[in-house]
C-alpha cells in the first residue's frame, strides 16, 4: 500500500486507461470469498444483504399484523400468532435490521474509505462480528420452527412475562440467545470502528476533517459500548432466571421485576440513538453533496451529536413514566433537552441546503423525505417527554405512530438514501433514477397514510399490541387507512427490487464519483480495490475530493496559506469532472512524506 505515491496524471484510485494497478486481493473468489473474506467491503456487503433480507422478512410480518387489524374482531390469525408476529417484527427490525444495516453494513463499508484506511483495524474480529450476527439472526428466526412458537412477549421482553412460567418453551430461549450473540457482534464492531477511526486515519485527516457520517458512527460506537453490555448482561440474567433457578427478576424469590425495565431501557434508549445517529450521518453526507455546498455548522453538528449521545444515557426512564417508580422531573427534563441538539441538526441541515444548488437525485429525495418524517416523529416525541401527556398516551398507538415515524424516517428513508447513495460505489453500477424516484414517492405517500391515522387511533384510546378490537369504538376506519398505507409501502419496494434487477442485468457504469461528492470514499475506484486506495488527495478540509476537483473554490472555502499554495499549484488545471490529479502533492507537509506511508 503506497498511500502517498505520486499519482499518474488523470488517474485517481481508479485504474487509468490501460494501466494495471496493484490489487492485493489474493484470496479466493466466488462463494468462498463471501464466506472467508476479512475485507471490510465484503463483510460490509454481507451485512447489508443479510440485514435487508431480514428487513423484508420483518416487513412481511408487519403486513400480516396490519391485515389482521384491518377489520374489527378479525380472526385472520390467532392471538398467539399475532403476539409472536409483533414480537418478532420488532425484534428483527430493531436488533437485526436497523442497527446492523448502519454500523455493520454501511459503516463497515464506508468508514475505512472515508478515513483513508486500507481496512478496518481488526479485520478478523470484523468477520467474527458478522458471523455472530448471522448466527444470532438465524437463531432468532428459527424460534418459529419450535413447538411452542417464537417468543411472544414483545421486543422488550418485560419481566416477569418473559419468565419460564409465563413464557415456557424454546422460542423465548432462542430469542435470548440470539440477542446475546448479536449484542457481542455489535460490541466487537463498535471496538473495531472506534479503533479504525482513532488510529487508521490517513495523513492530514484530523478529527475535525472527518466526514460527519464518520463522526456520528464514532459516537454511535461509543454508545454501543455503553449500552450493549448492559443488554447482554440483562439477557444472561434472564436466561439464568429461566433455567438456573435464580430470582433476579421474580418477586416470589425476592427479586425485582422492575430491574428488568431499568436495565432494558438503559440499553433501550441509547439504542434509539444508536439507530438514529448513523442515519443522521448519512443525511449529513448526502445533503451537502446534492446542494453543492459544504455542510453548514460542521462543529455544531459534531457537538450536537455528542450532546444527543450524552443525554441519551440519562433518559431511559421516560419509557417508565407510568411505572410510578421513577423520578419524573429529572427524566422529563433530560428528554426535553434532547430536542435542542436535534433541533440544531435540523437547522444545520436547512442551512446546508440554504442558497445551494439542489439537484434531486434519488438519494437526495430520500434524505429530504427523512427530514419531513423525522420532523413529525420528533415533535410528537417532545410531547411524549412530558409525563402527564405520556400517561394519556402511553402504550397506545400514539406511541406506535411516534416511534415508527422516527424509525421509519431514519432506518428506512435515511437508510435507503444511503443505499442509493453508495450503491454506485459498492457495485460500480448506477441504479435507474426513474425507478428510484417511483420508489421514493410511492413510499412517501404510504408512509403518511400508514402512520398519521395511528396517531389518531392512539388519541382515541387504542392500546398497542392488541390482536383484536371490537367495532363501534371508531377505530375501524383509521385502521383500514393504516393498512392501505402499509400495503403502499410494501408495494414501493417492488420498484427497488426491480431497480436492482435492471442494474444487475443492464449495468450502467457509475464512474468513481457520480455525484460529484466531496468525501474520501469517492476518490477510490468503484468498486474500490482490495485495499481501497492507490493514492490519496491532499486532505485539508472535510471534503478533500471536492477540494481536488474544484480547486477554484478551494480558496473561498479555506483561505489559508496552504489553500493559496494549492490554488497556485492547481493553476492551469480544469476543475471539471475526473480527478485533477497531482496538484500540490509534493512538498505538502500535511500529507506526509513517503516515509509515513509505511505505517499503513
Amino acid at each position: 500500500m503506497t498511500i502517498t505515491q505520486e499519482r499518474a496524471p488523470g488517474a485517481a484510485g481508479a485504474p487509468f486507461a490501460g494501466e494495471v494497478l496493484p490489487d492485493h486481493d489474493e484470496g479466493p473468489s466466488g462463494l468462498l470469498k463471501w464466506i472467508s473474506s476479512t475485507d471490510h467491503k465484503v463483510i460490509g456487503k454481507n451485512y447489508l444483504y443479510t440485514s435487508i433480507i431480514l428487513f423484508f422478512i420483518s416487513g412481511i410480518m408487519a403486513m400480516l399484523i396490519r391485515a389482521q387489524l384491518s377489520q374489527p374482531n378479525s380472526s385472520l390469525i390467532s392471538f398467539q400468532q399475532f403476539n409472536e408476529l409483533f414480537t418478532m417484527h420488532g425484534s428483527l427490525m430493531l436488533y437485526l435490521y436497523a442497527g446492523p444495516f448502519a454500523f455493520g453494513g454501511l459503516a463497515n463499508y464506508v468508514i475505512p474509505l472515508q478515513v483513508g484506511a486500507p481496512d478496518m483495524a481488526f479485520p478478523r474480529l470484523n468477520a467474527l462480528s458478522y458471523w455472530l450476527y448471522l448466527s444470532g439472526s438465524i437463531i432468532m428466526v428459527s424460534g418459529f420452527l419450535t413447538a411452542g412458537g417464537a417468543a411472544s412477549f414483545g421486543w422488550v421482553g418485560y419481566a416477569p412475562l418473559s419468565s419460564v412460567t409465563n413464557s415456557p418453551g424454546t422460542g423465548p430461549d432462542l430469542w435470548i440467545i440470539a440477542i446475546a450473540l448479536t449484542g457481542f457482534s455489535a460490541i466487537f464492531t463498535a471496538v473495531n470502528l472506534i479503533t479504525t477511526i482513532f488510529y487508521l486515519r490517513a495523513p492530514g485527516m484530523t478529527m475535525f476533517r472527518l466526514p460527519i457520517f464518520t463522526w456520528n458512527m464514532l459516537v454511535t460506537a461509543i454508545l454501543i459500548l455503553i449500552a450493549f453490555p448492559v443488554l447482554t448482561a440483562a439477557m444472561v440474567m434472564l436466561f439464568a432466571d429461566r433455567h438456573f433457578g435464580t430470582h433476579i427478576y421474580s418477586v416470589a424469590g425476592g427479586g425485582v421485576p422492575l430491574l428488568w425495565q431499568h436495565l432494558f431501557w438503559f440499553f433501550g434508549h441509547p439504542e434509539v440513538y444508536i439507530l438514529a445517529l448513523p442515519y443522521f450521518g448519512i443525511v449529513t453526507d448526502i445533503l451537502p453533496t446534492f446542494s453543492r455546498k459544504p455542510v453548514f455548522g460542521y462543529k455544531g453538528m459534531v457537538f450536537a451529536t455528542m450532546a444527543i449521545a450524552g443525554l441519551s444515557t440519562g433518559v431511559w426512564a421516560h419509557h417508565m413514566f407510568t411505572t410510578g417508580a421513577v423520578l419524573l422531573p429529572f427524566f422529563s427534563l433530560l428528554s426535553f433537552l434532547i430536542a435542542v441538539p436535534t433541533g440544531i441538526k435540523f437547522f444545520n441541515w436547512i442551512g446546508t441546503m440554504w442558497r445551494g444548488q439542489l439537484t434531486f437525485k434519488v438519494p437526495m429525495l430520500f434524505a429530504i423525505g427523512f427530514l419531513f418524517a423525522f420532523l413529525m416523529g420528533g415533535l410528537s416525541g417532545v410531547l411524549l417527554a412530558s409525563p402527564p401527556i405520556d400517561f394519556a398516551t402511553h402504550d397506545t398507538y400514539f406511541v406506535v405512530a411516534h416511534f415508527h415515524q422516527v424509525l421509519f424516517g431514519t432506518a428506512v428513508f435515511a437508510a435507503f438514501a444511503g443505499f442509493y447513495y453508495w450503491y454506485p460505489k459498492m457495485t460500480g453500477r448506477m441504479l435507474r433514477e426513474g425507478l428510484g424516484k417511483a420508489h421514493f414517492w410511492v413510499m412517501f405517500i404510504g408512509f403518511w397514510l400508514t402512520y398519521v391515522p395511528q396517531y389518531v387511533l392512539g388519541l382515541r384510546g387504542m392500546p398497542r399490541r392488541i390482536a383484536v378490537y371490537p367495532s363501534g369504538l371508531g377505530w375501524t376506519f383509521m385502521n383500514q387507512l393504516s393498512t392501505i398505507g402499509a400495503s403502499i409501502i410494501a408495494l414501493s419496494f417492488l420498484f427497488m427490487l426491480y431497480n436492482l434487477w435492471v442494474s444487475w442485468a443492464h449495468p450502467i457504469p457509475a464512474g468513481d464519483n457520480p455525484w460529484d461528492a466531496g468525501t474520501l470514499e469517492w476518490w477510490a475506484s468503484s468498486p474500490p480495490l482490495h485495499h481501497n486506495f492507490v493514492n490519496l488527495p491532499r486532505i485539508r478540509s472535510e471534503r478533500p475530493v471536492w477540494d481536488a476537483n474544484h480547486p477554484e473554490h478551494d480558496k473561498a472555502h479555506r483561505p489559508s496559506a496552504i489553500a493559496r499554495m494549492a490554488a497556485m499549484s492547481a493553476n492551469g488545471q480544469t476543475g471539471g469532472n475526473g480527478h485533477a490529479g497531482g496538484n500540490g502533492q509534493a512538498g505538502d507537509g500535511t500529507t506526509g512524506s513517503p516515509g509515513s506511508a509505511g505505517a499503513h
Partner: protein, 302 residues
Amino acid sequence: MILPPGDRRFRGTLARVGRAVASREASGRMKGHKTRNAVVLALGAVGLSACQLPNFGGYRGSTAQGYDTHELYAGAVIAAIVVGVLVFALITWSVFRYRARPAKGGDASIRMPRQFHDNPVLEIVYTVVPVIIVGVLFFFTVLTENNVDAVSTHPYASIKVTAFQWGWQFNYQGEGVQIIGNDVTQQYPQMVVPTGKTVRITLVSNDVVHGFYVPAFNFSRYAQPGIVNLFDLTVTHSGVYRGQCTQFCGLYHSEMVFTVKAVPAAQYQSWLRAEQANQADHPSQAPPPLQPSSKYHIQYGY
C-alpha cells in the same frame, strides 16, 4: 357507552377551569401550590377565555386530573405546530427556492453556489431559542404533573384494583364489595365511582405487568408485581367509560377490558348498599379475593 369527547365543547373555559379548581380544593387533594396553580390556571383561562382550546384528537378528560392533562396537551401541540410549521416551511422553501439552475451563458453545467459553511451567531440563536421553548414546556409539565399525581389524605372512596391474567378485580376497601371479571366470562368488570369526589385507586398486579388505562381520563398507570401504586381520580362527568389493559401481558391481552361507571354520590351510595346486601346474601357468588403472590411489596406513588 363511550362519552363523546366534545360534549363540553361549547361551555365556557373559564367556568370549567374554576370548577376544576374548586372541585380539587373541595376534595382536599391539593397539598401545596394551591395558590400558584390557581393563579396559573386563572392566567391561562383569561388568555384563552376567548376561545376553547382545541382537543387535537385527544380526550378532554372526564376527570379533574385528565382535564389538566388535556390543557397541557393542547398547549404543547400548539407549540409543536408552530415549531413544526416553521421548520416545514424552511425545508420546503429551501427545496423549491434553491433547486439547481443552469449556469449563466447557456452552459449546461450547474451554477456553483457560494461555499459558506457556518454562521456562529445564527447557530447560537437556534440553540438558545429551543432551550427556552423546552424550558417553558417543562415548567407547565411540572405544574400539571403535580396536579395529576397529587394524592389526597382523605379520599371519599378507596378502591383496590388488582390486575391479573386476564381480568380485573375491584375491591371497595372497607365496604366489603368486590367486582371481578375476566376474559373467560366475557363479562367485563365494571367499577362504579361517584362523580365530583376523590377516589383513591390502589393498583397492584397478581402476576405480570399490566396497564390500567381509561382513555377518557387521559390517564394510565402500570400494575406491577411487587409494587403498590397509588393515585386519585376525581371524575367530573357521569357516564360509562371504557378502560383496557395497555401493557402487553400475554395471550389474551386484547381481552382485558373493564368499564368505569361514574354516577352521582347518592346513587353511588345506594349502589354500594345494594351490592353489599347482594354479596352478603350470596357469598358463594362473590369471587374469592385474589392475593398478590408475594410479601415483597414496595409502595410507590408520585
